[in-house]
Subunit: 358 residues, 2 copies
Amino acid sequence: MIDEQRVHQALREVKHPESGHSLIELGMIRGIRVDDEQVRFTIVLPFMNVPVKDQIVGEARAAVEGLPGVKGVDVELAEMTQRERTHFMAAQEKRVGSAEQFNRIQHVVAVVSGKGGVGKSLVAGLLAIALKREGHQVGVLDADITGPSIPKMFFPTQRHPNSSPLGILPVESETGIKVMSINLLLPREDEAVIWRGPLISTAIKQFWGDVFWGTLDYLIVDLPPGTADASLTVMQAIPLSGVVLVTSPQDLAAMVVKKAARMAQVMGVPILGIVENMSYVVCPDTGRRLEVFGPSKAKIMAAQLGVPLLGRLPIDPQIAQLCDEGRIEEYRSDDFAAIAKRLVESAPQPRTSLFSQP
Amino acid sequence: MIDEQRVHQALREVKHPESGHSLIELGMIRGIRVDDEQVRFTIVLPFMNVPVKDQIVGEARAAVEGLPGVKGVDVELAEMTQRERTHFMAAQEKRVGSAEQFNRIQHVVAVVSGKGGVGKSLVAGLLAIALKREGHQVGVLDADITGPSIPKMFFPTQRHPNSSPLGILPVESETGIKVMSINLLLPREDEAVIWRGPLISTAIKQFWGDVFWGTLDYLIVDLPPGTADASLTVMQAIPLSGVVLVTSPQDLAAMVVKKAARMAQVMGVPILGIVENMSYVVCPDTGRRLEVFGPSKAKIMAAQLGVPLLGRLPIDPQIAQLCDEGRIEEYRSDDFAAIAKRLVESAPQPRTSLFSQP
């Protein structure tokens, strides 16, 4: 006779394809019931669209179907509660295998600002595009877990990553830029991720260590505003070649951006240069440059920090539109090609120590 | 004969004026040395400009000077390391008294956006100013610990708070708005606060519970971007009347702002309305409105969320300049008076349960 305990034992033998831990240990199985040789249970997932979903469901179903006395198996799917997800992610961290050993990443450049809304994600995206156009292999790791902007810029419709034996596969953009972001794992792009720091740090570490980036010349990391958990984790756990600071002409922005610069200095991460965004608006009627956030202070700031000014960008309604439509790769800007060129020149030479981080 | 141990004992009797805990317990005393009846020690402070600094130094000095055999006392000051500060703040939380019981705060309104740089702090500041002009007693609690913008907008020069027997005193602006922010405690406004979530949460709780706000009609809370620690702590630990959402015309911003709206719903906090910032730039030559971030989507968003649209604000170079000069209170805007009026109308009636929170 088949009973709940026997099903539980069988599911204990089914391993999560990424970490090798048992589904039971990871808290992924709920509510096993057996009625008249018919087995029912629920698999709970950290997100409804994790790439390994079908594999997990298939293996769990097969393990139970193979038991003597089982006539049928019904599997339901549900999303984890906050508490379950915390447990799951902590357990996953003690992992068996990892994609990291298969990745060959030459330069890791983080785009930071401290201040929100100065165009950090835009600069990260445009930088990736300009480097790709120069023939480099490029990836973008979106480390902004609670306010991710990268997927919306690169993809016109909601996309989800696949998995491979070597790790989660980033989603490739139209021109072949590899993108990983929490928003690619959510059922809806405007779903909230209401997490405290430790979960945010774990997610970022997984984007670095469990994603099969393959061979990249440049991985661009888009950081959230602030100098708290996400920034600390990126600067501590990811071997950065350096950071690019993004600022706007407001003193208020400059003040907060200096906090981010100070953080990079404290953490021993080189500052590769500054980009000033929202420098001006070009009036379509007169062609005049309107400095709507005040006169540029980028040169002064670059001099104060002793780093190169990589360039200045206008507020361009075309950018806003392309970003909103997931077509940022169609944007042509000579300004930006020059900025990327200066960055490549100022970036440190390939560090072989970046290969196969332990 | 005087010796280190005797000094240590004397300093154990000196209490921190806010929590009543011993300076020794709080880890505030370092390196006691006695040479030829001359005593030296260092007092370490969580920040160099804590308002109780002089009182602590005076009391510690007096306690040691009163010991038999002491000829002279040298006190040095230093700032705590991260580790010392973590210990200090955890110990302070187990406090003896608290300002909270003396505060009478009618409405607490949090200004949120999820997305950075859409003008949250500006809306928070202008809201406070408009309410003050209507004759209300108003305070602003800056809950953005890693990117605080409020003090720069309200004060032309660096200011520091004082203390009182009832708690830390907020700094008053030109027109009498009471302001509390981490930047008022830092020696320099561009100093970085590199903290993980738990420290950030403790700081926010202290701004609510240990600051003697007195009697206020409105306390405006300026939240950082994101739906992580700071937002969670504000929504869990502070009895909010509701939140005002700030957005910009970009879809990208709207997507992230919806995450913040979703968070408020999950946490059971009413959304009082939406303000759209950066709606347009007025060209000074032609008077034409340039929608540099695309056409407004505020009405659609308000309808989707079922909340009132409180108003739309332009990008105004005069605001940028007044913010940078600490003179935001001089800004005159009919747009904003109307927004504040609508907010007052939509705000819930005084909740007596908000008085004297336990």
